[in-house]
């Protein structure tokens, strides 16, 4: 599903060169629930952003579903993200002026292969799945953190993406809400055969992942990736 070959990302901070990723090679299979773990500054989020087409690698190659993403134009990348990828961010990243229903429908509204009836039905369906159908007319500020993250999950899933990327989705949640969200991830992964790539640094999340890759200083940690 995803092939990563010798991926490197170097940031320049003044005269200092920081190697955020220093030659990552990795394959991710379809339907896999992959956990990316490691200490702060190890390059977890940078790797996720590269895979999610949110940032450009300095060198290396990423192939998703047979497509070399470095060859895509800016507009094609936008469309690729819209049609094939879903995102969940640490801070929920909902549009504060839109209701739950509008937030969830937003990516679906832009798809050329969905009409109004379809995206309403899809949004309604996914909101039912995350258990927030009764809150569909509320604004994000009227919801708890856990509820907002479930809305974020619904928004990411409304277009039925090939891959779901989650960047520490439970970082701002208590353990009870974290568990609700992770159970939803598991359910989606199992019932829809959804590929999920998730960054986390909580040890107790491990039980949800099919496989875990550990990063340290921008490379796969050889000691832990046996």
């Amino acid at each position: 599903m995803i092939e990563i070959d010798n991926l490197r990302k170097t940031y320049h901070m003044g005269n200092v060169e920081v190697k955020a990723l220093d030659g990552i090679t990795l394959d991710i299979a379809k339907g896999e629930f992959l956990g990316i773990m490691g200490p702060s500054g190890s390059g977890k989020t940078t790797l996720l952003h590269m895979l999610g087409l949110l940032d450009l690698p300095t060198s290396g190659r990423i192939v998703i579903d047979g497509m070399d993403i470095s060859k895509l134009t800016d507009y094609e990348k936008t469309m690729f993200r819209l049609y094939k990828l879903g995102y969940i961010f640490q801070d929920y990243a909902l549009v504060p002026d839109l209701t739950v229903m509008e937030n969830v429908s937003l990516p679906a509204m832009l798809r050329k292969d969905r009409n109004e009836d379809q995206y309403r039905k899809d949004s309604h369906g996914i909101l039912q799945k995350v258990g927030l159908c009764d809150r569909r007319d509320h604004l994000p500020r009227e919801l708890s953190g856990g509820q907002q993250q479930r809305v974020s999950l619904a928004r990411a899933m409304v277009n039925k993406p090939e891959i779901l990327f989650a960047d520490e989705p439970c970082a701002n949640l208590d353990s009870e809400n974290s568990k609700v969200v992770l159970e939803l991830f598991r359910e989606i992964n199992e019932s829809m055969h959804q590929t999920i790539v998730m960054v986390s640094h909580e040890n107790w999340h491990k039980e949800y992942f099919h496989r875990i890759v550990y990063l340290r200083d921008g490379v796969l940690d050889p000691a832990r990736n046996q």
Binding site: T78, Y83, V95, E102
Partner: protein
């Protein structure tokens, strides 16, 4: 950019205005409304003054076409024949001559120098609306002798002391009072005040009218000359047509024929040009203020929303949608501001039609045409769009990582 993308951009814009900072939106609309009012108020006021002066010049001085003495001549002569000729022409409603003579008015202890104008009352009524401006008594009749109508400033006010008067007067003459008039040729006669008028046009209000017959008594002979002849056109006939007719019939041999437009371009053309310059300055300043304000408002909005913009792009919202989102916000704010500006302007116009600005020389209201409203709306709308789209374009081009880190 398809219909779906525009629909999403509009939804984002609408929700941002509906559920975002109300005070910011209201203040922005208010500023645009005030700028619109500023753009249209001063030009409309100057147009009103121009219209007022033009109307008063036409009504009380030159009518549609003025026949005046030729260069070097003091009077138009052979007035009887000339009037018959002009009144017989197609398109002419009526021609009315005026003959003025300087005189000294005496009433009780007051003495005042006044220009006395001789008229043919019946003809003059068809050319000038002075007869509709009587504030006391009545207008002159055709055969009246020994009777005079005077302007209100000449009559004066008995309750105002002489040293407090704005302009010298006879100190409170009323209809029926007798005043003594001593003409420049030494002829002296007592007149009964038949009426007092107030037109608001200073040169006429500072004069007095007697009949042609009366002036013939003053001159001691048949009066076959005039200072000028004013000609009123029938509805549907242009001034130029009348002028051409008069020239074709030879009136130009006896006098100089000028249309109201010819005269206006000479008399108040410079004034109107000055007004146009002030209007242009006012317009440019208003447009700059509106553009700068909207630019700042949208720039602040986009800076505050950089992270959200980054997230929208991350989830697959195209940069064009993001740009048009802010563009639509400016369009909505611009339309609301312009509507508010139109309402404020129309309320001001209605108020000033009841309470016009009055000076001794003219009175003015706001003169606004639908074209003025439309053209100013379009100018302001374009300025608003430019001011909104520039920061929106800039922020929508920012890369996702930079925007999300903001």
């Amino acid at each position: 950019m398809g219909q779906k993308e525009l629909k999403v951009a509009f939804l984002l814009a609408l929700r941002s205005l509906q559920r975002g900072s109300r005070s910011s939106a209201i203040l922005t609309v208010l500023i645009i409304g005030m700028c619109f009012t500023n753009m249209i108020f001063l030009p409309s006021m100057f147009s009103g003054i121009g219209q007022s002066i033009t109307k008063q010049l036409v009504d009380y001085e030159v009518s549609n076409v003025l026949v005046s003495p030729k260069s070097g001549a003091q009077y138009i002569t052979d007035i009887g024949t000339t009037l018959d000729l002009i009144n017989g022409m197609p398109g002419v409603q009526r021609a009315s001559p005026q003959y003025s003579k300087g005189a000294t008015f005496k009433y009780r202890q007051r003495v005042l120098g006044v220009s006395v104008r001789a008229i043919l009352p019946t003809d003059e009524k068809e050319v000038s609306p002075v007869y509709t401006k009587m504030v006391a008594g009545s207008y002159l009749g055709e055969g009246d002798t020994g009777e005079i109508i005077i302007g209100r400033p000449i009559a004066g006010d008995a309750s105002v002391r002489q040293e407090d008067e704005f302009q010298p007067s006879l100190g409170g003459v009323r209809v029926g009072d007798s005043i003594t008039i001593e003409y420049g040729n030494g002829y002296t006669k007592d007149y009964r005040v038949k009426g007092i008028y107030a037109t608001g046009w200073s040169p006429v209000d500072s004069a007095a009218f007697v009949t042609w017959t009366d002036m013939e008594q003053v001159e001691g002979k048949t009066l076959d000359k005039a200072d000028y002849i004013t000609v009123r056109a029938k509805p549907g006939y242009t001034e130029q047509f009348i002028k051409n007719e008069l020239l074709a019939y030879g009136v130009g041999v006896n006098g100089k024929v000028q249309t109201m437009t010819d005269l206006l371009s000479k008399s108040i053309g410079k004034v109107l040009q000055s007004f146009a310059i002030i209007n242009m300055v006012s317009l440019i300043v208003s447009i700059i203020i509106t553009t700068v304000v909207l630019f700042i408002v949208i720039t602040i909005k986009t800076i505050n929303s950089r992270k959200q913009i980054g997230i929208l792009k991350a989830i697959g919202v195209d940069k064009e949608v993001i740009m048009h989102n802010y563009g639509f916000q400016v369009i909505i704010l611009g339309i609301l501001g312009i509507v508010l500006g139109i309402i404020i302007t129309l309320v001001l116009a209605a108020y000033m039609s009841v309470h016009p600005i009055v000076t001794p020389e003219w009175s003015a209201t706001l003169y606004i045409t639908p074209w003025d409203l439309m053209i100013n709306s379009v100018i302001l709308f374009i300025a608003a769009i430019v001011a909104g789209y520039v920061p929106a374009y800039q922020v929508s081009r920012e890369d996702i990582q930079t925007a999300m880190r903001a």
